[in-house]
């Protein structure tokens, strides 16, 4: 995580309410944008926010789930902690999907929920839920506050925990009486917690051993994940890759940590990843995994995963080491530090033959899959791949790409040519349909000067479609691309391949998306013919303000390559 400079602690004591104290804590933590939705148990805080409008911009979403994903999108692009807020009961439970998503994708969030008054707790009061217990498995830390005087310390800890070490979501539940209560306010940022070691020190012996293993490799392969982006280790990683001379492959959370067209970037790992890196995983002699956690979507069958290779794992979280895959050389610590030391310790190398192997496998995938996806025969329906090819060319690979979950997600990540650091926002670990639209809103607030494009399926769009209202009201500029195959495409693909085409509950009778967009004051256009596609994408990307472009794509196209569940990475299928 980027370290953010904290505003000076408030030295003058003043007597204020818990609600106002909360707002002033947020300001002290450099929060200028937050997302939320009001309700009874959080009203005192909303009242306090009213007085601090110039310091904190509160974006009211149309659903608390939207607020949580918007805060995630904001955090992922800004490198700051995302903040969202909700009332007790249903407001709080609506945040759970966002918390779970942030927990799996290590996204720093501070979520504040209102709670019924402390004397009502346990009485099944109106809109009382035990949100602290409910959110426990999906938060890095959480706490309930029943006294105003405990608010500053809890908020300070919350921000420290959310952004340090392996980042994650934190929830603070504040009873209504604590919001009303007055006390002498003072704020001290949290600098450490005695039971918590966020930054394990890099062990020089581990670095030396890792360097020795890398130097003796004949066929090394680098795997990179979200940790590099979280550690802000752009240059450190690039230096390591280039000195090592090894091919490098990404997890979807690591995408955009290295330019897509970097000569050593051999593509995406895992289930719908590229052919070369998956095959090479089971051919390499040394695997250098950096800031990634060997998710099952990446490894396929773990019992047949890289058994021939020595595995080096650079990781900040000790609990991730040896969790899914046995590791030969663990290197604990922040990869910004460990990469610097490791680059220093290794010998500069190149592996012409091994890189030829990558080129040869890539050529095979080009021939069997990519050519047809990007340049389909004239008589075929529009493919998702060719839409993304145009989007990529016209935006010159510099946009922030926010994807939802499904076929369009895999296609976008495979074919968009990412040329800028930290440009991919997606729901990786949880695979949350409905993530993209609100996350794109958050991303836009984090980077108002960047082009933000949300790529969404016709199914996922309808899970959080109400956030069009947030775009309408805030007048922000988010480009929304709907890749409409009139199916829950990814589920249909599995039914096609593994359930003998029994298409159970996957066909979508869709509404008129253009009309809906227009109802929200958003310009919209629908493309059904290839001849109109490129021009429409130009209009889409050069428009002023938000724009919805719906493209009707082939209904029953499948995403390949694919590693079926339970198969090994080397059993990746090209058709």
């Amino acid at each position: 995580m980027e370290s953010t400079k904290l505003k000076k602690p408030q030295s003058v004591k003043t007597t204020i309410t818990g609600a106002e104290a909360l707002v002033r804590c947020l300001i002290a933590e450099n929060v200028d944008t937050m997302f939320g939705y009001p309700g009874g148990a959080i009203m005192p805080v909303y009242d306090a926010l009213y007085h601090y409008e110039n310091e904190i911009k509160h974006i009211m979403t149309r659903h608390e789930q939207g607020a949580s994903h918007a805060a995630q999108g904001y955090a992922r692009i800004s490198g700051k902690v995302g903040v969202c807020m909700a009332t007790s009961g249903p407001g709080a439970t609506n945040l759970i999907t966002g918390l779970a998503d942030a927990q799996l994708d290590s996204t720093p969030l501070v979520c504040i929920t209102g709670q019924v008054s402390s004397k009502m707790i346990g009485s099944d009061a109106f809109q009382e839920t035990d949100i602290v217990s409910i959110s426990m498995p999906v938060t890095k830390w959480n706490i309930q506050i029943t006294k105003a005087k405990d608010i500053p310390e809890a908020i300070a800890k919350a921000f420290y925990i959310a952004r340090s070490g392996k980042p994650g979501p934190v929830l603070i539940d504040i009873t209504k009486d604590a919001q009303f209560e007055t006390f002498e306010f003072e704020y001290e940022p949290c600098l450490h917690i005695r039971s918590y070691i966020p930054n394990p020190q890099v062990d020089p012996k581990a670095i030396a051993l890792a360097a020795r293993v890398i130097d003796s490799a004949k066929k090394p392969l680098i795997l990179f994940g979200h940790g590099i982006l979280l550690a802000n280790a752009k240059q450190e990683f690039k230096d390591f890759v280039e000195k090592s001379g090894a091919p490098a492959a990404w997890t979807i959370m690591g995408l955009s940590a290295l330019d897509t067209d970097h000569p050593q970037n051999v593509g995406m790992l895992g289930m719908h990843g590229n052919y070369a890196p998956n095959i090479m995983t089971n051919e390499c002699d040394v695997l250098v995994a950096i800031g990634m956690r060997f998710d099952d979507r990446v490894t396929g069958d773990v019992s047949r995963y890289a058994k021939q290779a020595k595995i080096i794992h650079l990781e900040i979280d000790p609990a991730e080491v040896n969790k899914n895959v046995g590791v030969d050389v663990p290197v604990l610590g922040n990869c910004k530090e460990s990469l610097t030391q490791l680059t220093e310790a290794i010998t500069k190398k190149s592996y012409p033959e091994w890189n030829d192997r990558a080129a040869q496998l890539t050529a095979r995938e080009n021939e069997m899959v990519i050519e047809d996806e990007l340049f389909p025969p004239e008589e075929d329906k529009i493919t998702m791949g060719e839409v993304i090819r145009h989007i990529s060319d016209i935006s010159r690979g510099t946009a922030v790409i926010v994807t939802d979950v499904g076929q369009h997600q895999m296609v976008t990540q495979r074919y968009y040519n990412y040329k800028e650091w930290k440009s991919n926002v997606t729901s990786g670990g949880l695979g949350t349909m409905g993530f993209a639209l609100p996350a794109a809103i958050g991303a836009k607030f984090a980077a108002p000067h960047r082009q933000v494009i949300a790529v969404i399926g016709d199914g996922g769009f309808q899970m959080t479609i109400q956030e069009l209202g947030t775009i309408f009201q805030t007048k922000i500029d988010v480009k929304i691309l709907i890749l409409n195959n009139e199916f829950l495409g990814m589920v249909r693909q599995w039914q096609d391949l593994f359930f003998e085409k029994r298409y159970s509950s996957v066909d979508m009778i869709n509404p008129d998306f253009q009309m809906i967009a227009k109802g929200y004051g958003i310009t919209a256009e629908k493309v059904t013919e290839r001849a109109d596609l490129e021009k429409a994408i130009h209009r889409f990307l050069s428009s002023e303000g938000s724009y919805l472009l719906e493209v009707l794509v082939g209904k029953e196209n499948n995403v390949f390559p694919m590693i079926p569940t339970g198969a090994s990475v080397s059993e990746i299928r090209l058709s």
């Binding site: 830390w141 005695r194 039971s195 070691i197 930054n199 609990a319 080491v321 040896n322």
Partner: protein
């Protein structure tokens, strides 16, 4: 191969932490055989003692997940051979049984148990030992009519000499880096 392990967890004394810890076991389908919460040798620091039967690989992962919790200082796991442990069991018997025959008294003596309380209506017998021992006493007393029985969670002390005190200082130092 599954084996019995005792996990000792040193934590801040906070509401809700027990829930956070137990869900780490339940989520992984690991059955908690016994759990005990108490103070530790360091003032203000809590200690949980949890007994499970699992493969060591899984125990290691569980321990790491526990240590990952913000308010946990340190967690250790030990196979039975590396700890000294005990459980305590209490048995409530009708007092008239004891006065009618000498048999119960002989059982109590044979098992090195003791009479904790003798009331006109009932007598409480206490036995400290391994589960097998408290269970053996239970089986022998059963024909004489046990009114109530309870066995505590395991408490254990590890044999290695490095103490939590030392780790505590290490953790506290590392938390500031």
């Amino acid at each position: 191969m599954k084996e019995q392990f005792t996990i000792s967890i040193y934590t801040e004394n906070l509401i809700g932490l027990l829930h956070r810890i137990t869900t780490i076991f339940t989520r992984r389908h690991s059955n908690i055989e016994s759990i005990n919460a108490s103070e530790s040798e360091v003032s203000g620091i809590h200690r949980y003692t949890v007994v499970i039967t699992e493969e060591e690989r899984k125990v290691k992962n569980i321990v790491k997940q526990i240590e990952k919790q913000i308010d946990v200082f340190k967690a250790f796991y030990h196979p039975n051979k590396n700890i000294v442990y005990q459980e305590i069991a209490l048995y409530k018997m009708p007092t008239n049984i004891l006065s009618q025959t000498r048999e119960v008294e002989q059982i109590v003596r044979k098992h090195h148990a003791r009479l904790l309380a003798v009331e006109p209506e009932f007598t409480i017998i206490e036995k400290t030992g391994f589960k097998e021992e408290t269970q053996a006493l239970f089986e022998q007393l059963k024909p004489h009519g046990i009114l109530e029985f309870v066995r505590s969670g395991r408490i254990s002390i590890s044999k290695p000499m490095k103490e939590f005190q030392d780790y505590f200082l290490e953790v506290e130092k590392a938390s500031k880096l």
